[in-house]
Structures are given as C-alpha cells and as structure tokens.
C-alpha cells in the first residue's frame, strides 16, 4: 500500500479544479515513478473528475506509467537524429543486455527500459538517459556497460 497521506499532500497542493488533473498526475508520477491505482481514485475524488477520465488521461500521455518502475529508468531517445545515428542498435544492445523490451522492468526491479521521442539533445545523438542524467554519443557496444556501471 502506498502512503495515502503523501498522495493527498500532492493533491492538496494543486487548485481543486479539473484543469489541475495533468499537473497532479505528473507530481504523483514524479514521487512514486508510476501512478498507483489508489492515487488515481483519490485524484478523481479530490478534483471531482470522473475516474474514467483520470484513467484516460493517465493512459494517453507518454509521461505516465501505471505499472511500478524499476530503481533506475533507462530511456533511449528515438528522435529522428538519434535514429539516423544508430539508436536502434543501442536499443537492441540494451534490450538484450537487460533482457527486457521497452516499457518493461527487470524481474529484480532494478531497471526499466523506455523509449522517448526526442529530448532535444540531438547534437549528441544517439542519447541514453539514465534516471535524469543525459549520456550522449552512446556507442552500441558501450551502452550496456554504461547502464550497469553507474
């Protein structure tokens, strides 16, 4: 079970209107690295928004995840520039190195692999972001080492 008071605290910070929905979900996502079911229910109630809408919003936007994520989130950029400069190879190496596909989390809950569309750091393509640290010019043979080392 999650810290319901923490969830409530986050909700209470935002104005009580349906317009705050995305912002509240983003804050919850930032705190828990995913959106726990009870958080969605609490948000719906507090902002007086139908639960179905909260669920729609949380499945529509890429920023939200409804399943718990690993300790470390590895995001591989698949923007055009990264794609042209071999992001596919890096992704494959990471997939085989971690044994998971994008969107999945390793069984030991250590790593989650995600694909993002563009982080705007195209000058350093291909780019891998581990937690919030950007790694540029990632060579496919170094990608797994990079993830496992730090």
């Amino acid at each position: 079970m999650h810290d319901l008071t923490k969830i409530q605290e986050i909700i209470d910070r935002a104005p009580r209107s349906s317009g705050s929905l995305i912002a509240v979900l983003q804050d919850i996502q930032r705190e828990f690295h995913y959106l726990p079911c009870e958080a969605l229910t609490a948000t719906a109630k507090a902002l007086d928004v139908p639960l179905s809408k909260v669920y729609s919003v949380s499945t529509f936007y890429n920023a939200f995840s409804l399943t718990p994520r690993g300790e470390r989130v590895v995001r591989i950029c698949q923007g055009t520039a990264c794609h042209i400069r071999g992001a596919d190879l890096v992704q494959e190496q990471l997939e085989s190195g971690l044994g998971i596909k994008p969107g999945q989390t390793t069984a030991d809950m250590k790593f989650t692999l995600e694909v993002v569309n563009c982080l705007g750091v195209c000058a350093m393509a291909p780019v891998v972001v581990i937690d919030d640290k950007i790694h540029g010019n990632v060579r496919c043979d170094k990608a797994v080492k990079l993830v496992k080392k730090d």
């Binding site: 209107s17 349906s18 317009g19 705050s20 929905l21 995305i22 912002a23 979900l25 983003q26 928004v49 809408k53 729609s56 919003v57 529509f60 936007y61 890429n62 920023a63 939200f64 698949q78 923007g79 055009t80 520039a81 990264c82 794609h83 042209i84 400069r85 071999g86 596919d88 190879l89 494959e92 190496q93 085989s96 993002v116 569309n117 563009c118 982080l119 705007g120 750091v121 195209c122 000058a123 350093m124 393509a125 780019v127 919030d132 640290k133 950007i134 790694h135 540029g136 060579r139 496919c140 043979d141």
Partner: protein, 617 residues
C-alpha cells in the same frame, strides 16, 4: 522591489547594466543541455573556484557567468571569453586551470581548445569569425548564450522589457497589432499563419475573457530551438506574451511546455516568479493598469498536443484529442474563448519587432516570409546545433556553409525538414530558398525548424517507415483515417523494407495516403502521409530497388543486406564482443568471419569497427 512605473524600470535598468558590465572581462560557460551532459556544470564550478583563488586583476568571481545554450552543441562544453570573443570547445574540468592561468592571466590562447574548421583545417580563435556564427543573424536567439537565464537583472541589463515599456507608454493595442501586421511576421510553429492577423481576429471577437497561450510543446523529433529559447532566454518569451496580452486584451496566459524538457520547465517557472515579484506580471504591470498573469502547463508527452485544439484540451486537463476546427481556435479556443496561440520563437521575436520597428524586420528575409528563422541542425552533419538565419537563404548555405557539410567524407542524400509532418528533400532541391511557401511547394514544410541531414548510408524507405511508426503511435486515435490508415500505411512500408512489397502495394499506398490527407480530422493525420509521399516523390527508385531488386541501396534494411568482413580486418575482436547473436568468430590478430546463418544484420559490428573492415552489400 516592485517596479511599478516605467521610470523606475529605466532607473533599475541603469543599475543592472552597471553590474552586468562591471567586470572588464567575462567568462561565459555554456550550460545548455548538450554542454551540461558533457560536464559543463563542473567546468563552471571549477572556474568559480580557481578565479577566486588566483585573484586576477580583471577577472573576478562575478566575471564567471553561466549562460543558456550558445548553439554550437556538438562542440560542448563551450567557454567564451569576452570581450575578445575567445572561443574554447570541448572544455573539460582539467582544462580550466590552464585557461585561468594562461588565457585569463596571461592572455595566451590555448591552441588545443580552439575551434578548427572541419573542412579547411583552419583555426579560429574569435567565434565571430567562425562560419557557423558569422553567417547567422540572431533575433529570436539574441540573448541565448549571452546572459544567465536565471537572472532577470541580466535580461534587464541587455534591454529586456524595454519593448513592453515602449508599448505601455506610447502605443495603443491597435497600434501594436498594426506594427506586428506590418512586420509581416508569420507564426514560427509551422503553418506560418500571419501573426498580426491572428491577433487582430482575437481582439475583435466579443468575449468576457481571452487567453494567450505559448506553444512550447516542441514535439518534432530533431527540433530543439524552442527548448533553447525557453531555457536560455525565458524572459523574452514572457515579454512577447505580455505584449500580446496588451494587444488583444487578455488577463491570463499559459505556456505549454513538454515534460521532456525539465530544465526549460524549471527556468520558465523561475522567470515567471521573478517577473511576478518585480511587478512585470500580475496586477497593474509597470503601473499601466494592464493585468496579466502566466501559468506554466506541463505537457504529458504527446506529439498530437502540438496541434492547437489538442493543446488547449491538454491545458484544460483533458486527453489531448483534437476537435474539428471549422471554427478556428482564435475564435473558440481554450474553454471555448478566443485564444491566441503562438509558438515560443514567435513570442521571442515580438519584443525585437516592437523595439526596432516593423519596417526593419520586414526588410529581413523574403517578401512573403520576413525576418529570420531558427533551425536545429542534426543528423549526419558536422556542426550540429542551432542557427538563426534570414529567410530565403538556401538549404545549401545552411547545410554546407554554416553546418560544415557531411562528416566522415560521406555524400549528402537528403534533408528532412519540418519534423514528422514535413518531408525529405533531395540534393537537387538543395538550392531552394528556405521560406514557408517554397518548402511547402517542394512537398515538405518549415515546421518548427528541425533539419535532420541524411547521408548516403540512410535508407529513405526506412526513414519513411520510421516516421510512419512514430506517427502511428502518436496518433490520438480519434478519427479513422489517421488511426487505421497510418497503421496500414506503416504495415505496407514494413513489407517493402522486408523485401516482400509489390508495386501494387505502392499504388495502394499512394491512394490511401491521399485519403488520409483529405479525410483526417487534424493536422497530424492530414500531414501524416507526407514523409512517405515526399520520399516516394524524390526517391521512387529506392522504393523500386527494394521491391524489384530486393536491395536496400542505403544498406540499412536488414532483410535485404549482408555484412561481410574484408581484408582490412586486423583481428581486434571488437566486433566479436559486440555481436548480440554471436555470429562472428575468429581469433586475435586473425581475420574474423561472420556466419551468415546466424547474423541478424543489426550492424553493431559495422558501428564498432575502426578499420572499415565490414562491408555492407
């Protein structure tokens, strides 16, 4: 201290200017995203530490300034020493002591850190002489890399909020609209709608409230100019929005920023707080009676939210599904109220137009596309980064003169402009002038200014596949042509990449592409087939090579290529260690062999080989 009159602002500006220009010499450390990722933060702290220790006569701790993105992202971390313009590239923490002791203390240039032109091998110390900078004319990016984005005083020192003061003191809302209309500024978000006309329409509609929204949802992969502006010069965006609010009569504005740009979100929020504290936002701005406030609205990561009606739904906290815009959003926008939506670059340009006049601005660029445009250069190009150039400049000038051409001695093949909604232009279109109409006529578009350059090792069919797969997964799913059509188009494209496509498929694809263009509800679907249609228009032979000859001329499509090892192989084992399917065998210092039955054709070996020993056929 609240600045509650225009007089007070002038006095404060003098004060800011004195502080800003006090140090005789200044060290600017670029803290843009790319430089940051390469350790610019450490470089900055090292400078602060060492400068404090050394106690130089003309360089103090105040001289060390962190700035937003300077634009030349491929060479970061960048350090610029003014007023000489000394430009150091790829500066590491270890280099700082040397710079302080030699360049700062003894005015010696450190050769190793100086920019070397990739083509001519010429060294350039002063960045003003580097072609990448020399050919630019910076209006929207005027302060990027020149001020600390977190310091409002810096923005004030370089003349910030001067345009706002001018507007409030000397112009009526109608005069502001006229000035923007006369500048013939067109929206920088992509479609190029005349900004003045948009503002005028919004101001005319009877309504109890109007909104101003800044679109910072730079969703086009490969474009990063708005991120830079928001993160490096946030106040110019705010100033543009306040001027707009005055012109159309709006009390509330929103800036919609992508969550993928966390630094921009933080910087903008800080800027809004600072402006509010000083009375540049909120009630009775500069004592003029104008009240306007701005909220930052973070996007949730959906490309479709760059579309105006979807963006407005997202601002309102809803799923970003567009609506049919038979009634335009300037008339019925956010909460069904008249809304001006412009993008970051447009707003950042406004203050300059106001200060220097519509005629000055309209004289730049071409007749129908006035002013300058920021382009993000990325992909297979030597100088990746941001450039701002007058409209009408040719693609060749941007890519070869400013961008430094294609690296690794490879050949230019195509440039992709306008993001997923744009198109790919081939070499014979490279002398086209870059403006809204010419690009659209050529089957591409300006978009938000992304330019991804592709060399001869790029497969255009695969590029189309990439964009279709991007768009199919970013489609909101509301209307059928986009949801089902783009998906089916992608399936055909995959078939062709796999070498099992037919010419009949191609005909069917063209037919459905046209229906998707006409039949889709919003811009995403209507422009969704563009990457396919433009690659087909200019690279039909590549499609046919995949279909008829089962060959991928770019050497990319896995089912149509083979990797083999040639005699250049030194037996370094690098490829063996990287091969994910263990298809390469061999001993140290002996030529390796790829087992074609096992090879998955991923290209990892090719990517790591330092000796050009891997052939692709």
């Amino acid at each position: 201290m609240r600045i509650d009159s225009i007089d007070k602002l002038s006095r404060w500006r003098e004060e800011c200017r004195r502080t800003f220009t006090a140090p005789q010499r200044k060290v600017f450390v670029c803290l843009g995203e790319a430089c940051l990722a390469n350790g610019a933060e450490e470089v900055f702290h090292e400078f602060q530490k060492l400068v404090a220790e050394r106690k130089l006569s003309d360089v103090t701790v105040e001289s060390v300034t962190k700035t937003g993105c300077h634009g030349f992202c491929s060479l970061g971390p960048l350090v610029i020493i003014e007023p000489d313009g000394t430009f150091y590239t790829k500066v590491g923490k270890a280099d700082v002591a040397k710079i302080v002791d030699k360049t700062l203390a003894a005015r010696e240039v450190i050769d190793r850190l100086v920019y070397v032109d990739a083509g001519t091998k010429e060294k350039k110390v002063d960045y003003h002489t580097i072609p990448f900078y020399a050919r630019q004319q910076r209006i929207s990016l005027r302060n990027c890399g020149a001020i600390d984005p977190h310091k409002l005083v810096d923005y004030i020192a370089v003349g910030g909020y001067g345009a706002l003061a001018k507007v409030l003191a000397t112009m009526t809302p109608q005069q502001v609209i006229d000035e923007i209309t006369n500048s013939r500024l067109r929206g920088r978000g992509g479609a190029g709608f005349p900004t003045g006309r948009k503002w005028a329409t919004c101001a005319q509609i009877e309504a109890d409230i109007r909104y101003v929204i800044c679109n910072g949802d730079e969703g086009d992969p490969g474009a990063f100019s708005d991120r830079t502006t928001m993160g490096s010069d946030p106040h110019s965006v705010l100033e543009g929005m306040i001027i707009c609010a005055y012109a159309v009569g709006s009390p509330q504005g929103y800036i919609y920023v992508r969550e993928e740009y966390p630094l921009a979100v933080v910087t903008l929020q800080k800027a809004v707080d600072q402006a509010r504290e000083r009375g540049l936002l909120g009630q009775n701005i500069l004592g003029s009676g104008l009240s306007f406030d701005i909220k930052i609205s973070r996007g949730g990561g959906a490309f479709v939210c760059g579309e105006s009606s979807a963006l407005m739904k997202s601002v309102a906290g809803d799923v970003g599904e567009p609506r049919a815009k038979y009634i335009r959003s300037v008339i019925k926008g956010l909460h069904d109220k008249p809304t001006v939506l412009n993008n970051v670059e447009t707003f950042a340009t406004i203050p300059v137009i106001i200060e220097r006049g519509a005629d000055w601005f309209a004289a730049i660029g071409t007749k129908k596309s006035t002013g300058t445009k920021v382009f993000s250069l990325a992909g297979k190009i030597t100088n990746t980064g941001l450039v701002e150039v007058p409209m009408g400049i040719t693609l060749r000038e941007i890519i070869f003169d400013i961008g430094g051409g294609i690296p690794d001695g490879r050949k230019f093949k195509a440039v992709q402009t306008g993001g997923p909604s744009g198109g790919c232009l081939p070499e014979n279109k490279i002398d086209l002038p870059v403006d809204f109409d010419t690009l659209t006529e050529a089957g591409s578009m300006m978009g938000s200014g992304g330019m991804v350059i592709m060399d001869d090792r790029t497969c255009m069919v695969e590029v189309a596949r990439y964009f279709l797969s991007f768009l199919a997964s970013e489609s909101c799913g509301k209307c059928v042509p986009c949801r089902e059509g783009l998906y089916q188009l992608l399936q055909y494209c995959i078939k062709i990449c796999d070498g099992v496509g037919t010419e009949a498929d191609l005909a069917q694809m063209e037919q459905m592409a046209k229906v998707i263009q006409i039949g889709s509800l919003c811009g995403l679907g209507q422009s969704g087939p563009n990457p396919f249609l433009s690659t087909l228009m200019y690279f039909r032979d590549e499609y046919l090579a995949h279909i008829r000859d089962k060959k991928c001329p770019g050497g990319v499509c896995r089912k149509l290529i083979t990797y083999t090892i040639n005699d250049e192989c030194t037996g370094c084992m690098a490829c063996i260690s990287v091969c994910p399917v263990i298809a390469i065998t061999g001993e140290k210092k002996k030529k390796h062999i790829i087992d074609q039955a096992l090879c998955s054709r991923c290209g990892s070996c090719y990517a790591v080989c330092k000796f050009d020993a891997i052939d692709i056929k």
